[in-house]
């Protein structure tokens, strides 16, 4: 009952985040355009088949959409003096963080659904499968948890956190088999195992190409472990930094 009540309050934060940060024309357009442009700039003049391209685009779009705003919500609200009110209300910190995560997950799923639809309608790629739907939801939670973890240092300048986010997010894209399949990465392949994006891209490849580096079960399992790990660490770090935030 108590958890259910906390989840309800968490969803109130989700609704607040959606209306303040996500449901804005500019944010939606950026959520679609940035991954598309970054992706196109990297695949131009490279021979890449559609079924190789779409999983990478899917992974990048989800990763960008979900982790774009979560890192800046806490520093922004600290700066705007709304965060203190939020943490003084009868809502656990984990529920506040979960509320932020759920908002970005919903936004990420919305963005990805566009790419899936475009893939199906325009390119005739067969995408939809149960592991991919399930994996997309878990991956969205996972990437968003990474976003909230990035926002844990007690900064009140969103620009400081954006810098940290860029330092972490961009290298992850290059080591996660988005542009180059894991099998062709040589020794750098080992690095890719530490990125949750690797497992989501791999799962997407399996759903479209029918082949993948890991089995879909391994991909789903590792993504789930990453999600729990990143969420727990994010909550713990936020709890620790709360004293220094005000």
């Amino acid at each position: 009952m108590r958890i259910f009540e906390q989840l309800k309050r968490s969803f109130a934060i989700t609704k607040k985040d959606l209306s303040i940060y996500y449901l804005k024309g500019s944010v939606i357009i950026q959520g679609l355009l940035i991954p598309a442009f970054v992706f196109i700039s990297f695949i131009l003049k490279r021979e890449m088949s559609l079924d190789m391209m779409i999983p990478g685009l899917l992974g990048m779009a989800l990763f960008f959409a979900v982790s774009a705003i979560t890192p800046v919500i806490t520093p922004w609200e600290t700066r705007m003096r709304t965060f203190e009110r939020l943490v003084s209300s009868p809502v656990y910190l984990w529920a506040i963080i979960l509320g932020d995560i759920m908002a970005s997950v919903l936004f990420g799923l919305f963005v990805v659904s566009f790419i899936v639809l475009a893939g199906i309608i325009l390119l005739g790629v067969e995408i939809i499968s149960f592991p991919l739907i399930f994996g997309t939801i878990i991956a969205a939670f996972c990437f968003s948890s990474l976003g909230t973890l990035i926002s844990a240092p007690p900064a009140d300048k969103p620009s400081d956190i954006m810098l940290i986010a860029s330092i972490i997010k961009f290298p992850l894209i290059f080591i996660s088999g988005v542009f180059i399949p894991i099998t062709e990465m040589g020794v750098l392949k080992i690095l890719s195992f530490f990125s949750p994006l690797t497992y989501y891209t791999d799962l997407a490849r399996y759903s479209i190409q029918g082949t993948s580096y890991f089995s879909p079960v391994v991909d789903l399992l590792v993504l789930s472990v990453f999600t729990i790990f990143l969420f727990v660490i994010a909550v713990k770090w936020h709890e620790k930094s709360l004293d220094k935030r005000f």
């Binding site: 109130a12 609704k15 003096r81 709304t82 203190e84 009868p90 005000f246």
Partner: protein, 309 residues
């Protein structure tokens, strides 16, 4: 009357800096209790520990029957909080801010809407209920934040500098509403550096400086402690110099514009001395007032005393 807030040996250290240094006090149910002190005295850190936002380094806080560290959610459920310089969500409307607060406190939707509308009327914001808060003035925002703190029918209201930097109209409205809610049984805990506000509103005040409580009592009782050092304010028709107040009963002279404030123990003797001086020098007294000690005098006395430690 039972204690509704109880702080015991409360301490907060930030590395080597002691923000709050082992303070203990209790607030009775139905009181307006003021925590008064200069900037940096430790008032905000104290209120943050009382409301469970910060964990104390040492000590305990009880809110009603709840220990804030162990039962923080239950304790927060009976509190309303207005943090210092807090803001509402500026991209949401006034009513949406209130309804969000209602959801965070687990209030049923219908009850929440009714409560929000009543509060908006009470705080003179009903006409602007659907406007985004970014269009509000500072005073309107502060009224809204206070209304948000009242959404859950709190037993205790924590107000950190509630009228700081506001226009006169908003200050008056907020003070009147603080009194109104107190009369309805809400305990008010407020921090302020505005001595007049503490004097006007509070049943009891604690004077805090350097993380310690220097004195705690009713404002009038605190004033009576230094009553023996009352003062006389005098102004002569022709300007005089400070040295003319060389009289054994005058222990301190302060120049206040074209007037002088004379401190001493025997007011009658000081007044006689002034009349004599006026007659002797043929310099008419144009103003003469006996001043009772203000809360400010106590505040200055106590905070200066601490600085000399």
């Amino acid at each position: 009357m039972e204690n509704i807030i109880k702080a015991e040996r409360l301490k907060k250290n930030y590395s080597s800096f002691n923000a709050v240094n082992g303070i203990s006090f209790a607030v009775k149910k139905g009181e307006i209790f003021g925590l008064l002190g200069p900037n940096g005295a430790g008032k905000t850190t104290t209120i943050r520990m009382l409301t469970g936002i910060l964990k104390p380094t040492e000590g305990e806080v009880h809110i009603g029957k709840y220990n804030i560290q162990k039962e923080s959610m239950e304790a927060r459920q009976i509190m309303g909080i207005v943090p210092e310089m807090a803001d509402a969500y500026i991209d949401l409307s006034a009513i949406r801010n209130l309804l969000l607060t209602g959801e965070l406190y687990g209030i049923e939707k219908e009850k929440s809407i009714k409560k929000a509308e009543n509060l908006l009327k009470m705080f003179h914001l009903y006409e602007k209920r659907n406007q985004k808060v970014k269009t509000f003035s500072k005073g309107m925002k502060q009224r809204l934040i206070l209304a948000m703190a009242l959404m859950n029918d709190a037993d205790i209201l924590f107000l950190d500098e509630p009228t700081s930097g506001l226009d006169v109209e908003s200050v008056r409205l907020i003070r009147d509403l603080i009194r109104k809610f107190n009369q309805e049984g809400v305990t008010i805990f407020l921090t302020t550096h505005n001595i007049k506000e503490a004097d006007l509103l509070c049943d009891r005040v604690a004077i805090m400086n350097y993380g310690k409580i220097m004195a705690i009592d009713r404002p009038e009782m605190l004033k009576s402690v230094i009553k023996k050092t009352s003062s006389v304010e005098v102004a002569f028709k022709n300007l005089v110099e400070e040295k003319v107040f060389n009289f054994k009963e005058i222990i301190e002279v302060k120049k206040m514009g074209d007037k002088f404030q004379l401190y001493g123990n025997k007011m009658e003797d000081i007044i006689l001395f002034l009349i004599n001086h006026s007659q002797k020098t043929n310099n008419e007294i144009i103003s003469l007032k006996i001043l009772e000690p203000s809360l400010e005098d106590i505040f200055v006395k106590l905070t200066q005393k601490n600085e000399n430690f």
